[in-house]
């Protein structure tokens, strides 16, 4: 074993000293040139900052500016109006009802789609190889443009000459056409069915991916212990999937809040205002009445509502993720 006084150890000591000196020099140089270091860092994040400024900060400021001004589509920023647009929006029962409708619909439809999507994903997982092929098939509704989905369902649900009414009448179930899109409750149901048809495959594929990522040995162990299918689902699969399911639900919830295309094509917000969602209401305000100042204020209020409604789900997702990490 070399000692500190041996030639070998002297050589090693020199190398260590040299490395230490180099390290100290580098450290010193970093200490004396913080500005240069920061410049480099800034350059690295500059594209992100620029992108965020363009896509988020500028539109955000523009939206706020519109909301506190008397702005028409053709002539924005005609006069400063302070909080007038917010007050008008918050005292407009049609807008408040539309907000409530959006929130209710988003939560309900997302919940239904999550259950259906998970069920389909479980079924496809059980099919193993053919499941992947079927998965690409059931994605077809998702690949269809929403407007086309709306038109297809409108043709199916039309009272005069519609496919569904034709079948119901031919089978003698009804003796007169049912107005699916012209009756309050049925109109919502119709929008919901079309929405479920379009979006459930998306949920299913996310659930399918989440299930595929679960460790197989846990299920094997459960099988050896004699757990039945329900016990496996309730005691193992669901707790393990909880964080992913919460995240999927959150994603779908945010998308469901923005439902517009189907409402536009199928019901145009009717009958009356029964299917007028917040996004449809805001669209009408901006592009039918050209009151973009008020529409901007309504958009900001709508954003807050979306935030408030999604907050518990965000918390739930975080809590589930922590719980799973704790178990791991």
């Amino acid at each position: 074993m070399p000692t500190p006084t041996s030639p070998g150890s002297a050589s090693s000591a020199l190398k260590v000293l040299s490395l230490t000196a180099t390290f100290n020099t580098t450290l010193a140089s970093l200490r004396v040139e913080p500005t240069r270091r920061l410049s480099w860092r800034f350059l690295w994040v500059a594209p992100l900052v620029a992108a965020l400024t363009i896509t988020t900060v500028y539109p955000g400021i523009f939206l706020i500016a519109l909301a506190v001004s008397d702005s028409r589509l053709g002539k924005p920023f005609r006069a400063f109006s302070a909080l007038k647009n917010f007050v008008a929006s918050l005292s407009d029962p049609l807008f408040l009802e539309a907000l409530g409708r959006s929130a209710t619909y988003a939560v309900a439809s997302s919940f239904v789609q999550l259950i259906l999507g998970l069920a389909i994903a479980l079924l496809l997982s059980a099919l193993v190889k053919s499941g992947r092929f079927l998965m690409s098939l059931i994605l077809l509704p998702l690949m269809t443009p929403p407007v086309m989905v709306g038109i297809a369902w409108k043709l199916i649900l039309a009272p005069a000459g519609g496919l569904l009414n034709g079948v119901l009448m031919n089978l003698g179930i009804t003796d007169a056409p049912i107005s699916f899109l012209g009756t309050a409750g049925l109109a919502w149901l119709s929008v919901g069915v079309a929405d479920v048809w379009q979006w459930t495959p998306f949920i299913a594929i996310l659930c399918f991916a989440a299930i595929a990522s679960l460790p197989g040995d846990v299920f094997e162990a459960a099988a050896i212990d004699g757990a039945n299918a329900w016990q496996v689902f309730r005691r193992i699969l669901l707790p393990l999937l909880a964080p992913q399911l919460a995240a999927i639900f959150l994603l779908r919830l945010v998308i469901a809040f923005k439902i517009f295309d189907l409402v536009y094509v199928l019901t145009f917000g009717g009958p009356g205002f029964h299917t007028t969602t917040a996004s449809f209401h805001i669209w009408r305000r901006a592009l039918e009445q050209f009151d973009v100042g008020r529409a901007a204020a309504e958009t900001l209020i709508f954003t807050l509502v979306v935030g408030v409604v999604t907050l518990p789900v965000v918390w739930l997702a975080k809590h589930a993720a922590k719980a799973e990490a704790g178990h791991a």
Binding site: L73, G74, K75, S179, G272, E288
Partner: protein, 442 residues
Amino acid sequence: MSENGTARKVSRRSVLSGAASAGLGLAASGAFPRVGFGDAKFAGKSLNLLIIQPHVIAGRKLAADFEAATGAKINVIAVPYDQLLAKATLDVQSGANQYDVIDYWFANVGAIGRDEITLDVTEWIDRDKAEIQPEDYLGSLYDPYTLFDGKRWGLPYDGDSHVLFFNKEIFDKHGLKAPTTWDEYLGVAKAITEAESKNGIYGAAVLGGKAPIIIGSTYANRLAGFGGSFLTPEGRSALDSAAAVQAAKALKDIVPYALPTPLETRFEEGLPAFLSGKAAIIEFWSDLGVYANDPKSSKIVDKWEVVRNPVGGSNKTPRLALNAGYVFGIASGSKQPELAWEFIKFATGQKEQTDLLLTTASGIDPSRKSTLYSDAYKKFAPKVQNVLAGALENGLSWPTGPDSPQLQQTLADNLALILSGDKSPEQAIADTHKSWIGIIGA
């Protein structure tokens, strides 16, 4: 023939004299940049025409004719009829300036003028009046279609109004006569629906889709029939009249006997129902008279008749409502306003207008006296011409002020609430009146 022929001669002379005088006077003064027609005069140039979807055939024909006459290419860009104003406004406001000529609904002329979406063409009309012949436009159309704030914002090219079409075969089968009052209309529709709904045939197709131009037109027919109007001569809401409420009640009363359901019926649904014999009556734009006799699209060729809209209440004089109605204006962001103006004059001129009236599915109705009363139109669409003659001159105009989009929307919303059963006619009209006062003042 004489009306048509004379007008054509005047037009030719006018073009020559107008060009000569303008060339000497205005071009020398530099007040207006000028261009004129000539063979392939504008070859290599092109214009973008923003047009509503129902006018696509007309737009394509105009494009072909203008290119043949001048060499300029017209790109026809179609948008849904309820989105044109938003599209045109955004184009100008954003500075994109993609469009040169826009096809605006006359009820929006105030909004168009206030926001300067099209150019003020008052002086251009005055300059070229010999060629344009403003006095040839039907009296009730010209000002509502083009005038706001003392300025003119385009030239009319589609003089729309609703008339009442009915299926004579169905009427004869049930021994019915054309209704002359809204009560008779209800009775006839009820009789047919009760007898024929099991066969998929209904008494009436009622356009009640929640777009102002759809449900608003259906209401306007009744409002005019009951002798009411949208606004007072001073420009205030006139919806506090008995006629306004009676019209709303008439709208509600027809719902049970209409093609299911009025709220879901726009002209995309109503027109095929009538042409296929599934609806016995429809209030529709007068060009339906051309569709109805085209065997390619109609199963009721020579089985239909047309009359003026019924009357109601104390009113005994039928009156047409000016439903829809379109104008060509120069988009204020156009980089070729002179060429756009030449196209507009060409498209709204007597010859092209007559050709469009005689073109199946053009969607164009008369806006000029010379075309409405032309022999060619009388021969081509005799039933419709007979109904429109003498009636278009006194049509009921819609509000055209700058707040018209809000007024239309409020009215359409409340009318839809009547059809959905959420509001009584009295309540809906009272609420609309209140909203209108809030928008345009008491």
